[in-house]
Symmetry: C2
Subunit: 282 residues, 2 copies
């Protein structure tokens, strides 16, 4: 197998020799942010949205990106050319840097990686099961590397025969560890939580699409709203629109709902036919 390349602080090197010194603040204090987008046919999907969010996360966490937005974009295109992995996920990671005292943020390290990405069509077609989990991410709008609770919560979900969790605290749904949550009420209105959550890029585009199809509400979503909903689905870069057929003991039906299916179709058109920067070729 061809070994893929990564870019660390602007320098290209093979993935298997890519490393960080052990005093990086990600390793010693869990301090880092990242962003993640996909490529389809060597097109970077929604890249500018991801770059917006990447710089937002960095700013929120007092990390100064040591490259301009143009430079980061250029590095991404370079990596895409060098690797030539048409369907891939690309991650931009920004750490707290090599801290002298092991606590104070310094010049960040920037790591850009690319790896092959295959769609989970089974889940997108058949839907998944969630359980609620009592947690709310600190720094909700930041795409932090902190997935400790997500990893632990997944264990609980699997024990209960579910595929993942959705965080719910103080009677409010917020998000899944790696996806945004939507419900559809009995009138066909698409509803998704508003405050202190990750501003998902897929979420953003699904909201836009949904507005052409039905009414959309971006607001607090209570456990009662969840229980009374007719459909539910989650969105993310890798999961696209994945139907949710059950949360806890609430069943939304054995197959994806009508509104969810229409949104899936519309999102397919947007992503796979009408969107993308000019094709990058090696």
């Amino acid at each position: 197998m061809k070994i893929s390349q990564v870019i660390i602080n602007g320098k290209i090197l093979p993935t298997n020799s890519a490393s960080l010194g052990i005093d990086d603040l990600s390793i010693v204090r869990g301090y880092a942010i990242f962003d993640y987008f996909k490529t389809i046919d060597n097109r970077a999907i929604f890249l500018e949205d991801n770059l917006d969010r990447f710089y937002h996360s960095a700013k929120q966490m007092d990390l100064i990106v040591p490259f301009s937005r143009d430079q980061i974009r250029e590095q991404i295109y370079t990596l895409m050319k060098v690797n030539d992995i048409p369907s891939s996920g690309i991650k931009i990671l920004l750490t707290g840097g090599y801290s002298i005292d092991g606590y104070t943020i310094t010049t960040p390290n920037v790591i850009i990686t690319q790896s092959e990405l295959n769609r989970n069509l089974t889940n997108e077609q058949n839907g998944i099961r969630l359980i609620t989990f009592p947690y709310h991410r600190p720094f909700g709008t930041v795409k932090s590397i902190d997935y400790v609770m997500g990893i632990q919560a997944l264990k609980k979900a699997r024990k209960q025969g579910a595929d993942d969790v959705v965080y719910a605290l103080n009677n409010q749904l917020s998000e899944c560890p790696r996806a945004n949550i939507f419900i559809v009420d009995q009138f066909g209105t698409v509803i998704t939580p508003e405050k202190d959550i990750l501003a998902g890029i897929t979420r953003k585009h699904v909201i836009e699409i949904a507005k052409n199809i039905t009414s959309v509400e971006i607001r607090d979503v209570s456990l009662e709203d969840m229980a009374n909903a007719s459909e539910a689905f989650i969105t993310s870069t890798t999961k696209n629109i994945t139907p949710v057929i059950a949360i806890d003991d609430i069943k939304y039906g054995s197959s994806p709902g009508q509104v969810t299916t229409r949104l899936q179709e519309a999102f397919e058109v947007l992503t796979f036919k009408n969107y993308g920067v000019p094709i990058v070729k090696a």
Copy 2:
């Protein structure tokens, strides 16, 4: 300057060439635990307590330490001999390992590092100022690398002229980001929070010492308890017993209190004169 050595997965190498591959779960998901103890005159202070807690943290986070306790202890002594840094801090870090899917825990990486440690006698003599900060660490008994909130909170403390924060949520004090908190009430009773906090090693020994001097209560500590207290102090491996002269607008006096001072003296005797494994010499 002589470059210190570290031990990664049982192998000794110079600190400046010590690294982790970029797919380690600490870097991609903030998933790692650690422990930290000090050496004085090449004696490992309270090492067995730290090893107890290290294995506790590992177990709580589903990390299987790839070395026996005897092997880890042996590696620590080897490192102490090789480096010969009489007054030092030694950290044992255990990460989620090189995850194949970037999410699932695998065989952990173990990193043992040693660096010179100097006491902050100014703080121990004059005391420090804290502010309360609304947070409670998830996995309270685990010494996780997750210090994102601690690092952000310190910024707020410094803006307000304080040295650090103490976490307080739902009217309950819990701990500082890198230390345990104690108060002393008007009757001289030493009180420290009980539940879902890091079981500090210094905290443990201070509790033992305090029982010989006065009454001790290990229980919930409310903001009212804090406000009514006569003295306060924090404990940690690097800070020993550091008096707290103010929390928010509550002033405990311009110098360390009587009980705090007696505990400092007794702890000094315990740590510096009567404790320690046999001296390890190069």
